[in-house]
């Protein structure tokens, strides 16, 4: 069974790389959704033996949310905002790849420093960290507001992998609360994007830098 799990891990990492190089906005959304679904499958395969029924329910909720609800929300936001079709990266794709790989290396090092007790899946920690950093990459190197939400979702996926692999026996309550928060977060962000697209003619966040304290050219004299 674990081989499946580990295959999924590898798949997730590959998805990270794909996100780092994908140019199309819609394909980005699809990739994130796919990653969420795959991550949602993980707990079913993580536990030894037949999956716990509660875990099954939980996984279903996750998959529906991440695979269906969020993408549709984002897609709507994108269509409303009439954004151009590509993500407009601030750095070149090769550079993104390089950064992504660097993130993998760093996270595998950290993973080696942080041995997880009693988990039987290798690469959990590195994969989740790598995914988190990929999310950061999306946020920091893409200029659109939507891509930043996508990055946030990727970070969530990374955390999620880690969490689900660990707490199959945690009280449901907490996960649900967490999940609810994530959901509301994405929802609110969607609204925000909607407002942004209405206020500003497009959602390039370069517009969103009016508030600053930079006293440009007032020094060095």
């Amino acid at each position: 069974m674990h081989t499946f799990a580990e295959l999924i891990i590898v798949f997730i990492i590959l998805l990270d790389l794909a996100l780092a190089v994908t140019g199309g906005l819609s394909s980005c959304i699809k990739l994130v959704a796919l990653q969420g679904v795959v991550a949602g499958l993980l707990p079913l395969l993580a536990g030894s033996g037949a999956p716990h029924p509660r875990a099954v329910v939980f996984a279903l909720v996750i998959i529906t949310l991440k695979g269906v609800v969020f993408p549709s929300l984002l897609a709507r936001a994108r269509d409303r905002s009439g954004a151009r079709k590509d993500v407009e990266p601030l750095i070149s794709y090769p550079a993104s790849i390089m950064l992504c790989l660097g993130a993998f290396i760093a996270s595998s090092w950290m993973g080696s420093r942080l041995p997880l007790p009693e988990t039987n899946i290798a690469w959990i920690v590195p994969a989740s960290l790598a995914t988190i950093f990929t999310g950061f990459l999306l946020i920091t190197t893409r200029s659109k507001a939507i891509t930043q939400v996508l990055g946030y979702l990727v970070i969530e996926n990374g955390i999620y992998i880690f969490g689900l692999a660990l707490f199959v026996e945690q009280p449901m309550m907490v996960e649900l609360a967490i999940l609810l928060d994530v959901f509301v977060a994405v929802f609110v962000m969607g609204i925000a994007i909607f407002h942004i697209s209405r206020e500003f003619d497009h959602i390039d966040t370069a517009e969103l830098s009016e508030l600053n304290d930079w006293r440009r050219g007032e020094y060095g004299k």
Binding site: L114, S128, I132, L166, F167, D181, M189, A192, L211, D213
Partner: protein, 493 residues
């Protein structure tokens, strides 16, 4: 009882979305705040009277309960909200009368519906109550995230570009931070996996000794960065000036006075676990480092500041740095940090309230455009100046005592260089703020064409005055029960 404390604002919040009439909604807001305060007072009183049950020994898994630390912070929050609600009522009435021509570029905008504002305000209170009450790191996390989401609409009350930008930054930066905090929680759980204590605070503290150290360290780092973002420690503070300057004064007051403390509480919780696990030096070093860094950042940015609300925001960053410094130093400085948290919340809230009146009077947030406040709005000017003296740690005030205690602790621990840097940047901050407040308060300004004399709204000034009075009183006479409470609270860190 605690549950009621949380449910009361929750219910009121949901209700206020449904109420059509403004006045009834405002009354609801007022009475909810009063009720909440009353309940808090009762809880504090009873707990103090009965003594603290849950210090140290682990109870059965409880999700919501108050130890001394939580009590202190809920006390601050509730008191602050009481003042804020009274302020907000007058403020909303004022806003209704002249819907905003924008302070800076004069463009016309319209406010968010008042129902949304009031509702979010109340839900925000509920979330913060949950933060202070929760004994489970997961719940703590969830409620902190909730505060973020619920305060975002508040910041976007004035619907114009800049407030939207501020909201967006606040939302995204804080969410990212909170995501990291979640990761930290997971590490914490992983660290406690073999103890089976999950994320329950009590049992974590109980089994702290056998937690897995590297994972605990990682957990602390993630949680520190995550909640530190929310708390506004530099360099994670970037959202703070924008949000504080664009939000309505009452919201800025709540953010600065209550929300930052809630995030601080999160750090304190995990710090307690680490300390119990014998990692006090590790956490202390990090807290001191970022505390000083925040202080320095605040000093540098206050010197070049053009907007007085942003100035206040940076001063909040400074004080958060001081709190972190105090907790990092440990010993007597922890008491100082908590005292400082209390005094700072009251003072800063009062200052933000006053800043709202200044904005209403002068219709600008640019420091250079405000002159001779003394003439146009004497009471406001008095409060403005008094707030400056208090926030910069002029005795008598709790802030002064806090700074003094922290300095003494640093000297006692022979951190001479630390003390030196601390003093240098405090002096820099003092000078920078003094220049601003003097130039704003005193002097003369020729009246703008068609400017009518400004009637100072008492409802917006009285809360500030009362808060300042409380802070001064703290500096002159600290009631035994309060010092006892803070003393007990230091036991929870």
């Amino acid at each position: 009882m605690i549950i009621t404390l949380m449910l009361l604002p929750l219910a009121a919040g949901i209700l206020s979305f449904l109420i059509r009439d403004d006045n009834t909604r405002r009354t609801l807001l007022l009475w909810t705040a009063r009720g909440h305060f009353l309940l808090t007072a009762v809880i504090i009183y009873t707990t103090l009277a009965l003594g603290f049950v849950f210090i140290g020994e682990p109870p059965a898994v409880v999700w919501f309960d108050y130890d001394a630390l939580g009590l202190l912070f809920i006390g601050i929050t509730s008191l602050l909200f009481l003042g804020a609600s009274h302020y907000a009522v007058t403020y909303l009435a004022l806003e209704k009368r002249d819907p905003g021509e924008d302070a800076d570029d004069g463009s016309i905008f319209n406010n968010a519906p008042e129902a949304v504002f009031t509702g979010c305000l109340l839900l925000f209170l509920a979330a913060m109550t949950a933060v202070t009450a929760s004994r489970h790191m997961g719940l703590l996390w969830a409620s902190v995230e909730a505060t973020t989401l619920l305060s975002a609409p508040l910041i976007y009350f004035h619907r114009h570009k800049r407030s939207l930008e501020a909201t967006w930054k606040y939302l995204l930066i804080c969410s990212v931070g909170i995501a990291l905090a979640l990761m930290g929680n997971l590490f914490l759980g992983a660290a406690g996996l073999k103890t089976g204590s999950g994320l329950d605070l009590g049992s974590l503290l109980a089994h702290a000794a056998i937690l897995d150290k590297p994972l605990l360290k990682a957990a602390f780092l993630f949680l520190f960065v995550g909640y530190g973002t929310k708390m506004g420690l530099s360099p994670f503070h970037t959202w703070l000036p924008d949000a504080h300057s664009e939000a309505p004064a009452v919201v800025s007051a709540l953010l600065s006075g209550a929300l930052l403390n809630c995030a601080f509480l999160g750090i304190l919780r995990v710090n307690a676990v680490c300390a119990a696990a014998g990692l006090a030096d590790f956490t202390g070093g990090i807290l001191i480092l970022f505390g000083m860094f925040s202080l320095i950042t605040a000093a540098l940015f206050i010197l070049g500041q053009r907007d007085y609300k942003r100035l206040l925001a940076y001063s909040s960053i400074e004080h958060m740095g001081i709190l972190a410094l105090g907790v990092g130093l440990g010993g007597g400085a922890v008491f100082a940090a908590l005292l400082g948290a209390l005094s700072h919340s009251l003072t800063k809230a009062g200052l933000f309230f006053t800043s709202g009146v200044v904005l209403a009077c002068e219709k600008t947030k640019r420091i250079t455009d405000v002159r001779g406040l003394w003439r146009r709005a004497p009471r406001t000017a008095v409060l403005w100046l008094g707030g400056f003296f208090l926030i910069t740690g002029m005795p008598p005030s709790g802030i002064f005592l806090a700074k003094f205690l922290i300095l003494k602790e640093a000297m006692a621990q022979k951190h001479y260089w630390l003390a030196g840097v601390f003093l240098f940047f405090l002096a820099m901050l003092f000078a920078g703020m003094a220049k601003v407040f003097i130039s704003m308060t005193f002097g003369e300004r020729e009246a703008k064409p068609g400017e009518k004399p400004f009637a100072e709204p008492a409802g917006m000034l009285v809360p500030a005055a009362i808060f300042f009075a409380c802070v001064i009183f703290l500096g002159l006479f600290m009631p035994a029960w309060l010092s006892g409470l803070i003393q007990n609270a230091t036991g929870n860190i």
